[in-house]
């Protein structure tokens, strides 16, 4: 045996051990990040779960004309404007006739949501024949009742420490005994825009706002980004000027996002007079932010297409535009789409630049277009997390879950597109 072999043999065990350690370290890192992810998701999902159910109370609402303050032969207009809150209150008083003091009555009326009178109004609008009868229907419960029912922890604390007092608990037990309480899936969360009543608050406005904003972002940043990448890769000659552009694109990718918000305010709102709080401006600002990501990813994708393919096309008489649009671009598309989706996912989670252009706002109505005032999902999370009402804590987590699902769907769509365009050569 030569000396070299001996040296190698002697160190072999050590090298194997090192190899294993290296392997283990990699595995540990993956497991650690996996554990963090599970912890985070588990925490959010368990916190969010209560928000996906909600409580309804069944009331027998007296729709007598004298309760509703209606005349003998009311027209449709009078019926629409009738005092349905009186009917709801009377319905509650009928259940608990012993309640007489003013403060107790107030507490009793607050068992059901402010939405209740509108539920009754809708029922009557659907069937005016109901007037003069006693109609029984399910109305949304107030968030205090709902939170108390769902939280075992809150049920255990002494009366002085909770908003839902013992006499209200007694009413709740009585309602339960009469089978007037039910729990259902919280559709309201997906049907309504924002609200200051937790039981009425929903993510629909923010979801639609996020959708419009991302559409604008995509419509601007995708074509511009891809065109810039093609120019820089296929047409631009290397000189000082293109070097400068390249450095600037890379720098732009590292600019804090709030700076884009400041730019948005100065240029789009103050100078161009585009509307404040609109997805249009939000989308433009976010597309400025995502452009560098898309350009960098697209350039890498275009570069990775073998030059022989473009050369062959040119050799067969294709123009440069044909070589690019027919051959290079389709082959680079999976990489471009990956870059685009990463950029869009960034844009989806962004709040800082939107703060400056007024999208951090309380907006009840669901936006109907890209110039309507709107907010986006991460802003909704931010606003709810800052609300004093206890029931908003679980809704904050629920909004995060919705945001994550939106993100997963977007990524799944990207994977699907990539699979479709992927070609081997």
């Amino acid at each position: 045996m030569t000396q070299t072999t001996e040296t190698v043999r002697a160190s072999l065990a050590k090298r194997y051990a090192r190899e294993r350690r290296f392997h283990m370290m990699g595995l540990l890192s993956v497991m650690a990040s996996g554990a963090f992810l599970v912890l985070l998701l588990g925490n959010i999902v368990t916190k969010a779960l209560p928000a996906f159910t909600t409580t309804y109370v069944k009331l027998d609402v007296p729709l007598m004309p004298d309760v509703l303050r209606l005349d003998d032969n009311p027209d449709a207009d009078a019926i629409a404007k009738a005092r349905y809150n009186r009917a709801v209150r009377q319905g509650l008083l009928d259940l608990f006739p012993e309640v007489s003091s003013r403060s107790e009555k107030r507490a009793l009326y607050q068992l059901v949501s402010a939405e209740a009178e509108f539920t009754v109004a809708e029922a009557v609008a659907g069937d005016p024949e109901l007037i003069g009868t006693r109609h029984s229907l399910w109305v949304l419960a107030d968030d205090d009742l709902d939170t108390y029912r769902k939280s075992k922890k809150l049920q255990a604390v002494p009366e002085s420490d909770r908003r839902f007092k013992d006499f209200q608990v007694a009413w709740l037990d009585e309602l339960k005994a009469q089978e007037r309480i039910k729990t259902t899936f919280n559709w309201v969360l997906f049907q309504n825009g924002d609200s200051r009543e937790p039981e009425l608050a929903g993510v629909r406005g923010a979801l639609v706002g996020s959708f419009y904003t991302l559409i604008v972002t995509l419509a601007l940043s995708f074509p511009i980004g891809v065109a810039a990448a093609i120019y820089l890769e296929s047409f631009a000659t290397r000189n000082r000027f293109t070097d400068l552009i390249e450095v600037n694109i890379n720098n732009l990718a590292a600019v804090p996002s709030i700076v884009f918000g400041l730019l948005g305010v100065a240029v789009f709102i103050n100078f161009l007079h585009l509307p404040r709080s609109a997805p249009l401006v939000g989308g433009i600002v976010l597309s400025l932010m995502t452009l560098p990501t898309i350009i960098i990813a697209s350039r890498a994708a275009i570069k990775s297409v073998p030059p022989s393919i473009a050369d062959a096309a040119l050799g067969l008489g294709a123009s440069r535009m044909q070589a690019i649009t027919h051959h290079v671009l389709p082959l680079a598309m999976p990489g471009i789409l990956t870059g685009t989706i990463i950029g869009m996912a960034q844009a989806l989670g962004e709040t800082a630049p939107l703060l400056m252009i007024g999208m951090v706002a309380f907006i009840v109505d669901v936006p109907q277009g890209i110039t309507d005032p709107a907010t986006v999902l991460p802003v909704q999370v931010y606003l709810w997390s800052d609300s004093p009402e206890r029931a908003f804590t679980e809704r904050t987590s629920a909004a995060i879950v919705v945001l994550l699902v939106f993100l997963v769907l977007m990524n799944a769509f990207a994977v699907y597109l990539r699979k479709r365009f992927e070609r081997s050569w």
Binding site: R163, R196, P223, H273, A361, I370, D386, S387, P388
Partner: protein, 344 residues
């Protein structure tokens, strides 16, 4: 081709939206994050119960709101701004300079600032002087000479022998917050004034000494999110937290309010003015917008209604401390007659 048509569509949309900004059929409100939870409740009710659209409310902070509000008149500017302090003369001047000459001031009520800790810890009874001595960057020399030294205190018992021998640790809002401004003004300044020689200083020196909060890790800035402070207090029973009263009320099972100058922070004690740490909440309206933007006058009427901000109005359910009867009467008459603010 496809990409070209998409960008054309985008450009077309961008152009048409120009005209959308020329008229506005909803009210635009900006301003304080403290007034935000109250203003939003009113806006939502207003949207449901009237034929007008629901006003859009942005939470920009009092100062940021004033800046936007005073940029001028017209549909591109907000109609109303909320503030957790009174408008400053400099802000009013800038409003006037930009053509916003008639500003109506509406005082809506009060908000208490609680100094609280976790329910599992013992309840504190602090004076404003104790808090000042515990948190100020520089304090009067403990040896009694009339000089200022860097804050030497580490335990509450150093500040006041009657307090427990626990480390001073306070979680509170950052300087950008209106809550912090009010806290400094109502607690720190008052604590400062308990020392005669400091009180006798000229205005600027007094401010410099009394507005400075420790930066050696004893006062922890927790961001503007009051829920976060509540969570941190729950996790750390040794700490005290500074936040709005409505958060104390909602989280009574988790945190307890310390007594300040012997008074517990409750709805009644703040309303009576017994609890010393409470601040006024305002909103400001452009009179010129009242006829121009649909619903502004009606929104003001809804906000100042007895069922809204009156002693038993629905805003009191949200933790607003209402005005007393005389002040309410005065505020509503001026608001509904549209009497603009002349000077401060």
């Amino acid at each position: 081709m496809k990409t070209l048509s998409i960008s054309l569509v985008a450009a077309a949309i961008a152009l048409t939206s120009q005209s959308a900004a020329a008229s506005r059929d909803y009210i635009e409100v900006v301003g304080s994050s403290t007034v935000f939870p109250f203003a939003t409740v009113v806006a939502e009710r207003f949207g449901r119960n009237s034929d007008f659209k629901t006003p859009k409310i942005e939470s920009t902070g009092s100062g940021g709101g004033m800046k936007l509000f005073c940029t001028g008149l017209g549909v591109g500017t907000p109609d109303i701004t909320n503030a957790s302090r009174r408008i400053k003369q400099s802000e009013l001047d800038s409003c006037m300079a930009n053509g916003v000459t008639e500003v109506i001031e509406v005082l809506i009520g009060y908000d208490g600032i609680a100094i609280a800790n976790a329910k599992s810890a013992e309840n504190y009874s602090l004076s404003r002087k104790d808090i000042y001595l515990a948190l100020a960057k520089q304090v009067p020399n403990p040896d009694g000479s009339e000089t200022m030294v860097d804050n030497p205190y580490t335990l509450w018992s150093d500040v006041n022998p009657e307090l427990p021998a626990k480390a001073i640790e306070v979680i509170g809002p950052p300087p950008t917050s209106g809550t912090r401004d009010a806290f400094v003004e109502l607690v720190m300044e008052a604590g400062c004034e308990s020392f005669d020689f400091v009180k006798a200083m000229d205005k600027d020196t007094f401010k410099a000494y009394c507005h400075g909060v420790r930066e050696d890790g004893v006062y922890i800035e927790a961001g503007e999110n009051d829920n976060l402070i509540v969570q941190k207090l729950e996790a750390n029973p040794a700490a005290l937290g500074v936040f709005g009263y409505s958060f104390l009320e909602q989280n009574a099972d988790k945190v307890q309010g310390s007594l300040v100058d012997g008074v517990e922070p409750t709805f009644d004690s703040i309303a009576d003015g017994d609890y010393p740490v409470s601040r006024p909440l305002y909103f400001y309206v452009k009179k010129a917008h009242m006829g121009q933007i649909p619903g502004v006058a009606e929104f003001v009427a809804e906000f100042t209604d007895i069922d809204t901000m009156g002693p038993e109005g629905y805003l009191t359910d949200r933790g607003l401390i209402p005005l007393d009867d005389d002040a309410y009467e005065d505020v509503t008459t001026r608001a509904n007659e549209g009497t603009p603010l002349e000077s401060l």
